[in-house]
């Protein structure tokens, strides 16, 4: 419980560890281990923590076989080289980021497993490479990614532009799939941690213990591989591997109602030392003052420095703990960052995020239904466009002529629609639209669908649980209220450098809506033999009647002499004294 009517300010704790070790020139490999932990106390008493680990590898995987892997994990390096992957983004998420109450997420991922990959132009059979890739990743991460096949893969045309260096963007090299039914558990966390150079033995990754991480409202772990510029002149290319983990702890229900938190309370561990392979290792705590009131909260121990930046349109202040600074670890060699609220928080409004959305299923019964998406633009005076990508499985037959988009009571025609209808058992529906959202408005998008009856073998083991429809994706360049400076990628904290920013006046946001759970009509699973028998009986009735009428002819009936039964009956009648038949 504890859903406060008023929204409380959220100090943000960011742990950022970044560190390129000075690599040997011939090895050509550098590592910047940037662990960024963001701990964000959220209005409802939740605290969000984001870990980001970044490994940069100055190598060109295409040319020449690479055999020496130092910091970059060999499993992923060989995958990228063998299958011609240009960019890979895999996210495993449990729970849903409630944008309306928790604010804009740093990096959101849809519930379940999401995988999107850009392939190199040299790859000839993209579908084959995609299938191999999903199978190999399924083995690496112990997730059921092998269920990714053509029935849940789509080729978006506008939504997922490359996040790294890109020459041309032929969207036929892109594949996107989401498995909303996937669950994330310890088996997925362990191989993810193994990809880190120090594993979970040193550095910020010691905090990642499964028993605390999965006892949370939202848990998302992701792997992003992309090519980046090696330096500001961008003459050479490096590969960047980012591993991010976002977790939201609910302290109202588990933390005895107090909103103070500490690293030990959240993770049941403290930081003891840094990873020796890391060139940078930092913890950022969001201590942004709300309503210009400072001194509302206190962090201990004292931070090594304070960092101010405009992140996602808001001016934020971070207390920075540089773990490589020897003065940080005192005699006890353990760092336990604590945040205490100086006085009870008074109800002050938390700023509503500029863009948020929700989606639900309307209608009743098992024949038809309606998918409704509501998109809110809360910016007071700026309108901006948003790209909506919907992937609907083939067994919910969408009718695109019923698509209606209503803003402020009037019809809103999208400026770009790309619709690819589904083919039964072969590919899902893909609907991509560019919708202009006027300032301070709610846009409602509805589309009707019909539910199909599947073959009895196509239902999952619990058919009445329903079928999941993956989250829809909203991509937008949201205008920010405060101007943002262009920052150098190497020097800025990791949390600002995943998404490219084109100019200082807007920031890129990718939001996901809720996944949907839809029931389909089911046949009776105990009846296959009965149905076959009964239907074949009906067909046989027809065949039998027609056979009789076609092959037999009418005859006058001859009196029969009487068979055995008649003679026996006559014998009995003679005994009874009754006249015979």
């Amino acid at each position: 419980g504890g859903m406060a009517a008023a929204l409380l300010p959220l100090p943000l704790l960011l742990l950022l560890a970044a560190g390129p070790g000075p690599g040997r020139a011939d090895a050509g490999q550098e590592r910047r281990d940037a662990l960024r932990e963001e701990l964000t106390p959220l209005p409802t008493g939740d605290v969000a923590a984001t870990f980001q680990f970044r490994t940069r590898w100055d190598a060109d995987l295409q040319r020449g076989a690479v055999s020496h892997y130092r910091l970059f994990p060999k499993a992923l390096g060989r995958l990228v080289a063998a299958l011609g992957v240009r960019e890979l983004h895999l996210a495993l998420t449990q729970g849903f980021w409630r944008t309306r109450y928790w604010g804009q997420p740093p990096l959101q991922a849809p519930a379940g497993a999401e995988l999107w990959v850009w392939f190199q132009p040299t790859v000839t059979d993209v579908d084959k490479a995609w299938k191999e890739l999903s199978n190999i990743l399924s083995g690496i991460f112990c997730a059921s990614l092998n269920f990714i096949d053509l029935t849940n893969t789509v080729i978006p045309t506008a939504s997922f532009k490359p996040l790294g260096l890109a020459n041309g963007t032929d969207h036929h090299l892109l594949r996107y799939a989401v498995l909303p039914r996937e669950v994330v558990c310890t088996e997925n966390l362990t191989p993810w941690k193994k990809l880190l150079p120090c594993g979970s033995k040193a550095g910020l990754a010691v905090l990642l213990k499964a028993e605390r991480l999965f006892h949370s409202s939202y848990h998302s772990q992701a792997v992003h591989i992309r090519p980046i510029c090696r330096d500001a002149s961008c003459l050479a290319m490096s590969w960047e591997l980012r591993q991010t983990l976002t977790v939201v702890f609910d302290f109202f229900s588990s933390g005895q109602g107090k909103k103070d938190w500490s690293l030990f309370k959240m993770f049941s561990r403290t930081l003891t030392d840094t990873c020796p392979l890391a060139s940078q290792s930092k913890v950022y705590v969001d201590i942004s003052p709300k309503n210009k009131e400072k001194e509302l909260l206190e962090v201990s121990p004292a931070p090594t420095s304070v960092y101010e930046a405009v992140v996602q349109g808001d001016k934020k202040t971070y207390a920075v703990y540089d773990l490589l600074n020897p003065s940080l670890f005192n005699t006890s060699r353990s760092l336990n960052v604590q945040l205490k609220w100086k006085r009870p928080q008074d109800s002050s409004e938390m700023p509503i995020p500029t863009l948020h959305a929700q989606r639900y299923v309307g209608g009743y019964g098992l024949q038809t239904g309606e998918i409704c998406t509501l998109i809110y633009n809360t910016h007071p005076y700026r309108a901006f466009p948003v790209i909506l990508l919907e992937t609907v499985p083939w067994y919910l037959r969408l009718y695109v002529h019923t698509l209606t988009i209503i803003t402020k009571g009037k019809e809103n025609k999208p400026s770009y629609i790309h619709y690819q209808p589904a083919q039964d058992r072969r590919r899902p529906h893909l609907l991509e639209m560019l919708i202009q959202l006027p300032a301070n408005s709610v846009t409602k998008i509805t589309i009707q669908f019909e539910r199909a009856l599947l073959k009895w073998t196509e239902y999952p083991p619990d058919p009445n649980h329903g079928f999941y429809v993956g989250s829809s994706v909203l991509s937008a360049l949201v205008p920010s209220v405060t101007a943002m400076k262009d920052m150098d990628v190497e020097q800025s904290p990791l949390f600002t450098s995943l998404f490219p920013s084109s100019d200082g006046s807007s920031y890129f946001v990718r939001l996901y809506t809720e996944p949907l759970l839809v029931n389909l009509p089911t046949p009776d699973f105990s009846m296959p033999y009965n149905v076959i028998c009964l239907t074949c009986t009906v067909v046989a009735v027809c065949y039998g009647s027609f056979y009789n009428l076609l092959t037999r002819t009418f005859h006058v009936e001859e009196p029969s002499r009487g068979g055995l039964a008649k003679r026996l009956a006559n014998v009995i009648r003679k005994f009874r004294g009754v006249p015979p038949l």
Binding site: L366, Q420, V531, V541, S545, F546, L549, L550
Partner: protein
């Protein structure tokens, strides 16, 4: 006879117009018994919307109509209700004229057989008189226009009405004796839904009979005429298919329309037997049973042609019924077409054995269909077996109805040639039995 026909037409149009304006129109349009994936109006609108979006309507699995339907409704989408009402009226008028001509042919043939002494002496009460045949065409038009099945099909704007119209014109052309028009309309009907291919045999037999060509396998004139008719039919079919290719510049419509009809991938419930059977089929046998079910529609043609070669119109009726019962996506509109012919065989009434119980079965099942659908899909208190049971009962009712009419027809033929009062060798009254 024009005035009563006009009255019937007016009444039918009024009923349809009233239903179009009422709230029942939406309810009827959604009923699975009336609209199947092949002929639902919602899917026609969807196909046109896809065309507007620049996507081929056949790229998805929603649209299974032929390109000529796209072409027709591209221009007539505003007047859809009017189009369907006019289609129904045209069908009824075509059937009216066809049966009028057919009655004349029957009467002439009857007279010829009486003069040739082919009939037994005591069958006067079995001979059809012009008095009783006078109102049959009107009854046929009435049966078609005011049949609740037809009305629902029209209100739902199911393209089954267009299919029925083409078949009615084909029957009219056949009875009038024009082989060319008959072949063209049959090609159109086959092009739209594939199964009217089996109506080639009764039409050929009728036209041969009309030309007084004897149906002997060794006769040269028989083969000559058959080749002529078959080539007319095939050429018109090829011309129509090529025209469709040029409309959308692709052959995509062939797997979408004919592949869909033959392979039955969509298991939406309907009044037929296919959907639940293939929903519960073991995957291994799927192809085998699809082939069995499809062959089942086509393989009654040759035996019926052999048995009913003297009576091609009855053959046409039985064949239409078999198509309506066993096609892959039947709707009540298909049933309405063959039921329109029942007044033509009203003289068989005295030989029908189970007509009361069969009509009760059909009426009860028609009422139970929406009830059990609601219980399964909306109330959640029944399951698919209930709806499936009613499907089975309804189909058995239809099958027994057709075989009852067939039995009565054959029996009357026997009585006509052997006399009504049959006696055995010793003079006692005899029973007639099928052996």
């Amino acid at each position: 006879m024009a005035a009563p026909l006009v009255l019937v037409v007016l009444a039918a149009v009024t009923v349809r117009a009233a239903l179009y304006r009422s709230s029942l129109a939406i309810f009827i349009a959604e009923r699975v018994e009336v609209a199947s994936p092949l002929n639902a109006w919602k899917r026609v609108v969807e196909g046109l919307a896809l065309l507007d979006l620049g996507v081929s309507p056949y790229s998805g699995a929603i649209f299974h109509e032929t390109p000529l339907i796209i072409y027709l409704f591209h221009f007539l989408i505003e007047y859809a209700e009017l189009v369907f009402m006019i289609t129904d009226v045209l069908t009824a008028v075509a059937l009216y004229l066809a049966i009028q001509d057919f009655n004349k042919v029957v009467f002439k043939k009857q007279k010829l057989l009486i003069e040739l002494d082919k009939y037994a002496p005591d069958v006067a009460e079995l001979i059809q008189t012009p008095m009783e045949m006078h109102y049959i065409p009107l009854k046929v038009a009435l049966f078609y226009l005011l049949n609740p099945y037809t009305v629902m099909s029209c209100v739902a704007k199911s393209t089954c009405a267009i299919n029925n119209s083409v078949i009615a014109f084909f029957i009219l052309a056949t009875i009038k004796g024009s082989a060319f028009l008959s072949a063209v309309f049959l090609a159109l009907a086959t092009y739209q839904s594939l199964y009217p291919l089996t109506l080639f045999a009764p039409a050929l037999l009728y036209l041969l009979q009309r030309q007084f060509i004897p149906i002997k396998l060794k006769s040269k004139s028989f083969w000559l005429y058959t080749m002529q008719y078959a080539s007319l039919y095939l050429c018109s079919l090829v011309v129509i298919i090529c025209l469709s290719f040029f409309l959308l510049n692709s052959w995509d419509f062939i797997p979408s329309v004919y592949g869909f009809i033959l392979s039955v991938p969509d298991l939406t419930p309907n009044i037929g037997l296919f959907w639940y059977f293939f929903a519960e089929m073991f995957e291994h046998f799927s192809l085998f049973f699809v082939c069995v079910f499809q062959i089942n529609v086509f393989f009654y043609t040759i035996p019926l042609a052999i048995k009913l070669k003297e009576h091609p119109m009855f053959f046409m009726f039985v064949q239409l019924a078999i198509i309506s019962i066993f096609k892959s996506y039947p709707t009540v509109g298909d049933i309405a077409l063959y039921m329109a012919f029942l007044p033509v065989w009203s003289h068989l009434y005295r030989f029908l054995r189970n007509i009361f119980i069969l009509s009760c079965v059909l009426i009860f099942c028609s009422f139970l269909f929406p009830v059990l659908w609601h219980l399964w899909i909306y109330a959640g208190s029944a399951n698919s077996n209930f709806y499936y049971a009613i499907t089975l009962t309804f189909n058995i009712g239809q099958i027994l109805l057709i075989s009852d009419y067939f039995y009565a027809f054959l029996r009357r033929e026997y009585y006509l040639t052997h006399g009504l009062h049959l006696t055995r060798q010793d003079g006692t009254e005899a029973m007639l039995v099928l052996k």
